[in-house]
């Protein structure tokens, strides 16, 4: 995309299951699809084990030998590089102490999590990416609500990791999602205030904020100086207020329908009935001269190639971005 904004595309929509998107030829097809849609930069999502070989840094390196080897693999499909890598330290992985469950909300886990960030910091820097995008805290339903002290515990972990990312010359962006224990506008603002603006930024996801009941355009205007990363996607639904607290919300809300038979929450740009004011949001980014990446994604929503193409069309025809 030829634009003053920097556009990238997230690969997570292809990796919908444990045992898919493993063969290199399948990955090449996805990369070519992204490239044909006009994107030359991608965001990676983390995972675990031998089948997450385009997500988990150690496994990527095992597949391609080196950072350069991986970049060469991307460039075969005319994808030039990586904008960012997403990491959730709360998601258990075999690489992190053999599926240990740890949380940034637990002070006893802080040292381990800071240590776990190392392969990600190294990888993001190694492939020349900009941002390590992280899930700052686990799901709200798993823990009692966080008070200011609790938020400070979380923030401290990220301040420590922020020192490491800054030293490596990359950014660290805390990504809000609609299930996180930092959920309300006040909690989110609290977390941002408790982190060091010099080293810790905010990854604004338009759909996640909307589901969580926060207006992404207004939030961006309030906190433009902290926003260092953007995920652009749409949703047709917002949480009624308490759904994110359903036990097992990853499953019961985002897949099980929240008792409302909503079996898919996230949508491509331009979807009918989409709640996100995408043109308004992008206009706000332009007004503020937003310098970071805008990563388009559709999360898990059906046919990945179709979604990528519909997103590309939207950028070209509605947002007027030249391909």
């Amino acid at each position: 995309m030829k634009d003053t904004l920097r556009w990238a595309y997230a690969l997570n929509q292809w990796n919908v299951r444990l045992d898919v998107f493993v063969r290199h030829e399948d990955q090449q097809r996805a990369l070519k699809t992204v490239s044909a849609c006009g994107f030359d930069t991608i965001e990676l999502a983390s995972g675990t084990g031998r089948w997450d070989n385009i997500s988990r840094p150690e496994v990527i390196l095992l597949n391609h030998g080196s950072h350069q080897g991986f970049l060469d693999f991307l460039r075969r499909a005319q994808v030039r590089g990586v904008s960012s890598v997403f990491w959730d330290p709360q998601a258990p992985t075999e690489e992190e102490e053999g599926y240990a469950f740890r949380s940034t909300a637990n002070p006893a886990d802080a040292d381990a999590i800071v240590e776990w960030s190392k392969p990600f910091v190294d990888f993001v820097a190694g492939v020349g990416a900009d941002q390590l995008v992280v899930r700052p805290v686990g799901s709200a339903w798993m823990t009692p609500p966080l008070d200011a002290d609790g938020i400070k515990v979380v923030a401290d972990v990220w301040n420590r990791i922020g020192e490491r990312t800054a030293a490596a010359g990359i950014g660290l962006a805390l990504h809000y999602d609609c299930l996180g224990a930092v959920h309300t506008h006040a909690e989110l603002t609290g977390l941002l205030e408790a982190t060091d603006p010099a080293t810790v930024g905010f990854a604004l996801d338009t759909a996640e904020l909307t589901v969580g009941g926060i207006d992404p355009v207004a939030f961006y205007r309030e906190h433009a100086d902290r926003v260092t990363h953007v995920h652009l996607k749409d949703t047709r639904y917002a949480d009624t207020g308490e759904e994110y607290r359903m036990p097992g919300a990853e499953s019961t809300m985002l897949k099980g329908g929240a008792g409302r038979r909503i079996e898919r929450w996230f949508y491509e740009l331009g979807t009918e009935g989409g709640l996100v004011d995408v043109p308004g949001f992008v206009a706000a980014l332009r007004e503020h001269g937003y310098p970071g990446w805008v990563v388009v994604e559709s999360d898990h929503g059906g046919n990945p190639a179709e979604l990528a193409m519909l997103n590309s069309w939207y950028l070209q025809r509605v947002l007027g971005v030249a391909k």
Partner: protein
Amino acid sequence: MSDERAIKWSYMDHWRSNGPAGPVDQWHSHRTMSAFLKQIKAVGFDAIDTFDFRIWQMYGDYGGPAKYQEMVQDHGLERIVNTFHAADYDVRNYAPHLPETHENILEDFRVTMGRWSEIELDNIIVMPATLYYDMEPVTEDKLKYSAECWNKVGEITAGSGVRLTCHHEFFCGIQSEPDIDTFYSYTDPRYVSLFVDTAQHCIAGVDPVALYDRHAHRVSGFHFKDTRNVATGDDHRHRPDSEIMAPTTGKWFHEMGTDQGLVDFAAMMTAVRDNGYRGWISVEHDKANKEGGDYSESTAISRWYAKNVLEEIYR
């Protein structure tokens, strides 16, 4: 203008997506049509091709070809370039090698050209013969009768400003190299053109590049698609059908750029350049959804290939 392109890319109307009650094509609803056109545009195609039998939906759902073409243009695509005339060949009433059926064929085209008169098409594409098993043995006389038939059809379509061009399916009566050459020797270059389908020729054991080079002055368009299999044994004359039912092969057609593809597209594009062809190349991947395939992905991959491999050769 310096970036004026010699080649533009059109997408031939084969498409399926998954609907709530099973696979549907893009003509299912305005919504599915819009999603189709958006995807074609997104990856950088310039226009579309279509089938003649879609004319009914154009009239029924969109108010005619001109109105439908407006919708195509609203999605950022230029126009409808070619139409494919998929006829029901039958030795009883519609067989180019049987002169007694010619009047029926000519009447079909008179009516058809009237239906398309609202818009300007480049080509009307035909399979120039019946199924192979309905034509065999393929004799010189039969080729000559076929040529006479298409000469007359071509005169009719030329009257509407549209070129009549022949697309040689591997399972039709005129598919071998000598038969194709004989056929063109009897047809009038003013009225009958060749439409090179890279996969179909390849499946029939004919080198599409050599064929093109030999007939370049008669060529009015291309279907760029790939195959992984050459027809063997009776594949080309399998009863009742070769295209889907040949026992050897469940899926003949693949998008260009596919692994193990047999078509040498680099050589093909070089030949297109060296013959000075300017105009449209159509991309087709017929039945891409078979055996776990997916139209959206195949369309993206084929356009990627056109942009990153073929346009490096000639654009």
